[in-house]
Amino acid sequence: MQHRLVLRILAKLLFAPILLFAFYVQFHGDFGPGGGFQAGLIFASAFVLHGLIFDVSSARRFVSDRLLQVGAAGGVLLYAGTGFASILFGGNFLDYDLLSETPTSGQHLGILLVEAGVGIAVACVMVMVFRAFADRLPHLRERDW
């Protein structure tokens, strides 16, 4: 549909910067507002925008539904796995102090892993939910309008 040319080009142009912004929020969360959850949301919103302007099915070629499911599970696993790792290193659950040489670097590593887990899980779940809604055929009935 040609009359949506502006939007299509704009979406293509914006896609990468939004992802970049998501990464910025993800890794800058230690210093400014933001963190895994917010980054995950922004990440998802890039895909939502893509899905809005193009089609959900075209995005599916790059990111399959199964991949999203695996991603969501993987994010949770990464978080919980960090917890179990700290047990293996001899600490309590989610005690990051022992993950690296010094407690603070261990904390940094732990927070990085955990936030990554949050980001992945949230992004995947949000895209999953959006697609689940968008996939349904709408019940177009004139009288509702």
Binding site: G35, T104, V114, M128
Partner: protein
């Protein structure tokens, strides 16, 4: 002023029947409350509230509306039938007002909330975690288990939506 906006929006949500407009108002309600949260120094929360309330929630509601209806039907509930709801909401509000009359004054730095556990985070984070953003430090480390719970909540919601709307089931490869 912001509160006046907020209340106007909330009343608008209550009275408008056009669900489309209501969803937009709800999105704006979120933006406004995010602004208010920001004015109370909660930068991270404002960030999240804006992204969630005005972004994802609006889009989800629009999607849901695409699949259901756009117009709220005029209710034939009489005033009498609404009275219980009003009474419950009123009782709830009265209870909270009763509590707040006895509450520590707004912004009091010597209120119990500010003096017991919180100073520890503010003083120790630099030494123990070495991360400037206190919210991140508490979120990911001091109360990291809550955040694990939070991720599991989102995961549960994803599973639930997939279970309900039927998408995203594992493919049976034997077929």
């Amino acid at each position: 002023m912001l509160f006046a906006f907020l209340i106007a929006t909330a009343l608008g949500i209550a009275y408008l029947r056009h669900l489309f407009a209501v969803v937009m108002l709800a999105g704006m309600f979120s933006l406004l409350s995010a602004l208010l949260l920001l004015s109370m120094d909660a930068a991270d929360v404002a960030f999240t509230e804006a992204a969630v309330g005005a972004g994802i929630a609006t889009i989800l509601m629009l999607s849901a509306m695409a699949l259901t209806e756009r117009q709220e039907k005029p209710s034939n509930r009489s005033m009498l039938e609404r009275l219980p709801a009003l009474a419950v909401a009123g009782a709830f509000g009265a209870l909270l007002i009763y509590a707040m009359l006895d509450a520590p004054p707004f912004g009091d730095p010597f209120a119990p909330a500010q003096t017991h556990v919180a100073p520890y985070y503010i003083e120790q984070t630099a030494r123990e975690i070495d991360v400037p953003n206190l919210v991140t430090a508490i979120l990911a480390s001091y109360r990291g288990f809550d955040t694990l719970g939070e991720v599991v909540v989102i995961f549960t919601a994803g599973i639930g939506v997939a279970l309900l709307l039927g998408g995203f089931v594992a493919r049976d490869r034997s077929k």
